[in-house]
């Protein structure tokens, strides 16, 4: 299927919103893929980090928003430390998560942790994963 590239305000609005939220210039990315090459979770992802940023550049909002990748990022900042253009990919990921439908389902909510597991888990795991993946 041919992907139709949008032009005009809608596309710009999406990109500008991502840039505003993340504080990163997504057009600085020249798609070397180094973020993906070092990403510990890349093998689980449907879209690699560099593909996420590429889709943002192209303004393909729906494809970005429905990617599983958003909830596989562990914010380990390996991508950030290696990016030759100084883009903090973790911030871009966070910005995309931020604009997901606020009424939508949590990607990972408190209900998904069994009481037994909760007893064993360090507090910081629960605080951090809900901060990242729940509304």
């Amino acid at each position: 299927m041919r992907v139709k590239l949008k032009a005009g305000r809608d596309k710009r609005k999406f990109i500008e919103r991502i840039e505003e939220l993340s504080g990163e210039n997504v057009f600085a990315c020249y798609q070397c893929g180094r973020c993906s090459a070092g990403c510990p979770m890349a093998s689980e992802m449907d879209l690699l980090p560099n593909q996420i940023i590429r889709l943002v550049q192209m303004g393909l909002e729906e494809e970005v928003l429905r990617s599983k990748t958003l909830f596989l990022c562990a914010s380990c900042f390996t991508c950030e430390s290696r990016c030759p253009k100084g883009i903090d990919m973790a911030r871009v990921m966070e910005a995309v998560r931020h604009i997901l439908d606020p009424k939508g389902k949590d990607a990972f909510g408190p209900g998904e942790i069994s009481p037994e597991l909760a007893k064993e888990l360090p507090q910081q795991v629960m605080v951090s994963i809900f901060r990242k993946f729940a509304k």
Partner: protein
């Protein structure tokens, strides 16, 4: 002397080993750790979007409290707490807009005078006056390795130990400024200073899977396995961490890892503070070894506890 210390929530609940061994070790160095009055959870994750200003309020409130108590330095051990406190502090120092907005949230906090119990509001703005340090930095720069060496009473006799940095200590480097993200050595230098032999291995700064161990356990299992395997292949007899979450993934989940990867036979996981405490002569009972899933006793018995100095 007294030193402000932010333990964070996990150290008070599930991972007391890190808290207790840290306190005991520091006591041996004549340093009493003081917790800021009324500290709260730092939030564990530093807010990465420009809009989530509120996420900065909790860590900044704690830092302000340190200042109010006359402290100019606060140390932490947990990598997540260190990351959040340090980054929030830097944001307040560097970004006037964030400084203004966060202080606007915090200005009307209620202050209770400990003597008169009088309730007042109106804190002075916090501008990043407190310095956030990881205990490893404090040991290196303020205590100094020579002084630690003087106090050492037990000899590890060059026990090969792997230092595991994980993600938060090192990255993003511009904000953390902890060490070179791809060739760090502060942790190794510490291990060498207390008598271990630091093992070089390529996965020391790779991710353990972090909080994905809850949402995507298999991926985290693999990530942790690779770290443990790499350390073990390089000859380590134990791996040391600073972070309760790394500890959980590498230690508590090691049975799962062993079941999934048959070539891996197990590796004790230790907190750096346990190593320090042991070297300084702290009683084994105070190391919190009961919290370990992988028996770590061997590390402390394999090398006979020769009294190098009486």
């Amino acid at each position: 002397m007294k030193l402000h210390y932010y333990p964070g929530c996990t150290l008070k609940q599930k991972t007391t080993a890190l808290d207790i061994s840290t306190r005991e070790a520091m006591r041996r160095l004549d340093i009493e750790l003081v917790e800021p009055e009324g500290w709260t959870c730092c939030g564990a994750e530093y807010p990465l979007t420009e809009e989530k200003i509120v996420g900065l309020a909790a860590p900044i409130r704690t830092l302000r409290q340190v200042r109010e108590e006359g402290g100019d330095v606060v140390v932490t051990t947990c990598s997540f707490c260190y990351s959040v406190l340090k980054r929030a502090n830097k944001a307040i120092q560097d970004d006037p807009l964030k400084r203004k907005r966060v202080n606007a949230y915090l200005r009307d906090d209620i202050q209770i005078d400990p003597l008169t119990k009088e309730r007042t509001t109106g804190f002075a703005d916090y501008n990043g006056e407190v310095k956030v340090l990881h205990l490893l930095e404090y040991l290196r720069d303020t205590v100094g390795y020579p002084r630690i060496r003087e106090r050492i009473t037990r000899d590890f006799r060059g026990l090969p130990v792997a230092a595991y940095y994980g993600c938060r200590l090192l990255r993003p480097q511009k904000e953390m400024a902890f060490d070179e993200p791809d060739s760090p050595h502060i942790f190794e230098d510490f291990l060498e200073a207390v008598g271990c032999a630091a093992v070089d291995y390529p996965f020391k700064q790779e991710c353990c899977g972090s909080y994905l161990s809850v949402s995507l356990p298999d991926a985290a299992t693999e990530a942790s396995y690779r770290v443990l395997r790499s350390a073990k292949m390089s000859g380590a007899k134990a791996i040391t961490v600073t972070c309760p979450l790394c500890f959980y993934n590498l230690d508590h989940r090691q049975e799962v890892i062993k079941a999934a990867y048959l070539d891996f036979s197990g590796l004790p996981v230790l907190f750096f503070s346990q190593i320090l405490a042991w070297a300084l002569g702290v009683d084994k009972k105070l190391l919190g070894l009961g919290e370990h899933t992988v028996p770590a006793d061997s590390v402390f018995s394999e090398t006979p506890a020769t009294e190098v100095r009486s």
